[in-house]
Symmetry: C2
Subunit: 155 residues, 2 copies
């Protein structure tokens, strides 16, 4: 299985990029994990139209048999162990690719919501869509240390 | 009112330190916010005894009239707006200092749990006690942008 973190625009803070790099390197031992950045949609003021344009970009990347996890505050809150179980289950069924999608500043359109196989909330609190990249990368890494029963999660 | 983030040991990742610095600088416009690092307790293997020693250090710092928020996975999940409301309420009553306490790798002892005025869960997911410093600093900053009705939270 491959895991992709699908996001909009570049990571614009160097410290987040550095943090993400640390977990990307560690994840290499466990899984093919990539961050796919969809280009920012420019010049649109209306947030609804913006989200629709972003959805078009996202949907071009998403294949029919991808398992799509939408990260959204209104989703289901999981513990790290439950998250590990979800990933583990997808690895043992025939899933080829698992995508974690983080929307833009305004969230995502209904088209993405409908396409999602699971809506995951990392926290009831709102975090910047840039910072969520770091959180999520760390959680996927943590999930693998849970699956492999390694020390990281319990320390 | 002052806000203190009370933690154990130095922030050992440069990227987290850099991220925290960004929000500390921004917070200066709103509130006196400090990070107080209690020295690591060395040479103790037993996690229960370690937590008790850490608690002693924490309690030396905490005054009777401090409003103590313990950050703990088993606490109450708040939205960013609810977190802002809690801070705002503390600013208008006679609270002199609000402390957000993040325990060590093993959590905190019962003594700290009993002293707490509120137990806050940032997420059902487990994050490293180092990374929580960044999340929490960002959330306190976000709370002030909510209180002041500034753009950050809605973007």
């Amino acid at each position: 299985m491959k895991i992709v973190l699908l996001v909009i625009g570049k990571t614009n803070e160097k410290y987040l990029e550095t943090g993400i790099e640390i977990f990307l390197k560690r994840l290499k031992h466990y899984i093919s994990f990539d961050i796919q950045e969809i280009a920012d949609v420019k010049g649109i003021q209306d947030s609804r139209i913006l989200m629709e344009k972003e959805a078009e970009q996202f949907l071009k990347f998403i294949k029919d048999d991808d398992f799509l996890v939408l990260c959204d505050e209104r989703g289901r809150l999981l513990t790290s162990v439950e998250m590990a179980e979800m990933i583990s289950k997808k690895m043992t069924d025939s899933t080829k690719r698992m995508i974690f999608l983080v929307g833009g500043a305004f969230g995502v359109s209904d088209a993405i919501r409908k396409r999602s196989n699971f809506i995951l909330s990392l926290s009831k609190m709102t975090f910047s869509h840039q910072m969520i990249r770091l959180f999520l990368t760390e959680q996927v890494y943590r999930a693998y240390t849970i699956i492999k029963n390694e020390k990281y999660h319990n320390l």
